[in-house]
Symmetry: C2
Subunit: 339 residues, 2 copies
């Protein structure tokens, strides 16, 4: 199998390299006859352009980087799957790069990444999507980026998020409608903007229904299962015990369920539990978790598609979009028993 390069194609078709390149890139000013002829040779020789050479000439790599630092593996998996879909569609590749937001050398780390990989663009997933420091750095380096699930509004970049506040509001209202008034809340990681939004949705729903907000019902988590276990302990020790718990993600909700089951507190009869995200675990446990389905894959897919669009032809208009979240009811929530 001999290598087929642009030179062999040009020679075979009896035209210049440049003309072949024009056909390759759909450039104008090629006569239909010539174009046809070259395309035929592509077929005949089964020619595929070398992306590396192309990259060198255009100073592009056709690679998108995905930055993450997230305790939820399933979240990352979903992010990747959305990003991959967009990449494959546009013949880009996806390079994954986990690193720590709080690492002292975050900027150095990303700098290193950029110089060793020449990424064409970067998708920032939470908590990076809200890191002003990182964003400033990328701007300075002139690297295109897109932000997923970020709270920063009105800047001039690509940003897709889902409506966390609305989701949390609906979920809280669902619990209230079931008769619950003592609803504990477990916060997420303070570095994630979703944390504040979900908390705010919870508070607003309480307010709307005239239920007093009580700080003692709120525990600090960080989205990890482990933090959920700690919060669960604090909450289940409360006297009187709340009749419902709303955890800011499904992993923490699962931790609450585990502890409740260990203590032989019946869920949902004695305690309703709800999560957020609709992670796989929400339906892998019994009772299944009532939760909010967040379109993580779709958010990321759109973010990457817009990013690629932006790379090929930088426009002025920033692309911003908010997707809706949706309530999923399962067995873990039930009307409060009045006993």
């Amino acid at each position: 199998m001999k290598k087929v390069t642009i030179n062999s194609v040009a020679e075979y078709a009896g035209v210049s390299k440049k003309t072949v390149s024009r056909v390759l890139n759909n450039e104008p000013n090629v006569s239909p006859a010539t174009r046809e002829k070259v395309l035929k040779v592509f077929e005949e020789l089964n020619y595929k352009p070398n992306p590396i050479a192309r990259g060198l000439a255009q100073n592009r790599s056709f690679i998108i980087g995905c930055l993450y630092d997230n305790p939820s593996k399933s979240y990352i998996t979903r992010v990747q799957s959305g990003a991959l879909e967009a990449c494959q569609k546009h013949s880009y590749n996806l390079l994954i790069h986990p690193c720590e937001l709080r690492g002292q050398d975050l900027i150095d780390n990303v700098d290193q990444l950029l110089t060793t990989s020449r990424l064409d663009g970067i998708v920032l997933t939470p908590p990076f999507s809200d890191s002003n420091e990182l964003i400033a750095f990328l701007k300075q380096r002139n690297i295109p980026y897109a932000r997923v699930a970020s709270a920063i509004e009105g800047d001039d970049s690509i940003s897709i998020r889902s409506n966390d506040e609305q989701g949390a509001f609906e979920l809280t209202e669902h619990l209230i409608n079931l008769g619950h008034t003592e609803i504990a809340f477990i916060k997420g990681h303070p570095d994630h903007s979703a944390t504040e939004n979900r908390f705010s949705g919870y508070q607003k729903a309480l307010a709307k229904h005239g239920i007093e907000y009580r700080e003692r019902l709120v525990a600090e988590g960080n989205f990890s299962y482990h933090s959920g276990a700690d919060s669960a302990k604090a909450i289940l020790d409360l006297e009187p015990r709340p009749t419902a718990v709303f955890a800011s993600n499904d992993y923490m909700a699962a931790a609450v369920l585990k502890l409740a089951t260990q203590r032989e507190i019946k869920v949902p009869e004695q305690l309703s539990i709800a999560g957020f995200d609709n992670a796989p675990i929400a339906r892998h446990i019994w009772p299944g978790l009532t939760t909010i389905a967040q379109p993580v894959e779709e958010m990321t897919r759109i973010a990457v598609e817009e990013l690629i669009k932006h790379i090929s032809q930088p426009q002025e208009a920033p692309f911003q979009q908010v997707l809706e979240a949706k309530l999923i009811t399962r067995e873990s929530t039930k009307a409060r028993s009045d006993s």
Copy 2:
């Protein structure tokens, strides 16, 4: 920030491009003085070689591809994390490429991947690590590859696996030592070689302890939670009901636990359940699952390291290694109650 290329370094240092290149690649035949001088200029100008140009000249991309088709997200996450560690250490990048083993166009798909990305090597994760068709194709195309968790022995490629049979044997023996004799087994996906190995470990342990193997206790799964749920149904409907279930991975074990809990069968008092892999879910549910810890990250890390080593200097000797699996005891298994 002006671009620093090999030309500017050469000019600044007062040597030729080629000499700079020599220093860059640690080639011999550079006088210590010159080397020193050039290295100093590297520092001074903060020079980083452009990997794309380097790739073009050497026909390399410094990218490793990772192929997967696996229903277990946590498995994939762990694979990635091991692969990333090795890649970062050697300044390679990791490109992830999910695709379907049973897809008609698997070969086309991989062919496409190779021509659009010029991968330097590929890590095959199950079930690809056992696909003779794919391996033949990679050989023909002369693409280096490493196989993770494959059963194929004695071929001349890099292969790392863990001792599935031994793990399953130990786990089964653990159940037998707890007094169980009616031990149901849920098989994994037939395309994965681990499936056969785990099954064989189960059978050998039964044989060693003089327990008759009964086919009716065996259900066919495919590693997905869903298949575990189906198998769980079949097993829990058996009369008399087995006193223990050994599922070939933790997701399927979790499905058994869910159904048992739904049916108010007490675990582990009335039913012991064990899984395999030590996936996160094993400790996120109650009772925690007794399982076998497989060093997935380590296997993949070693596989990628050997692959990279092989790429830079192809040796003759195939690298093959088998890592041990380890029993983790949690709450889901208990001595059989004689009631």
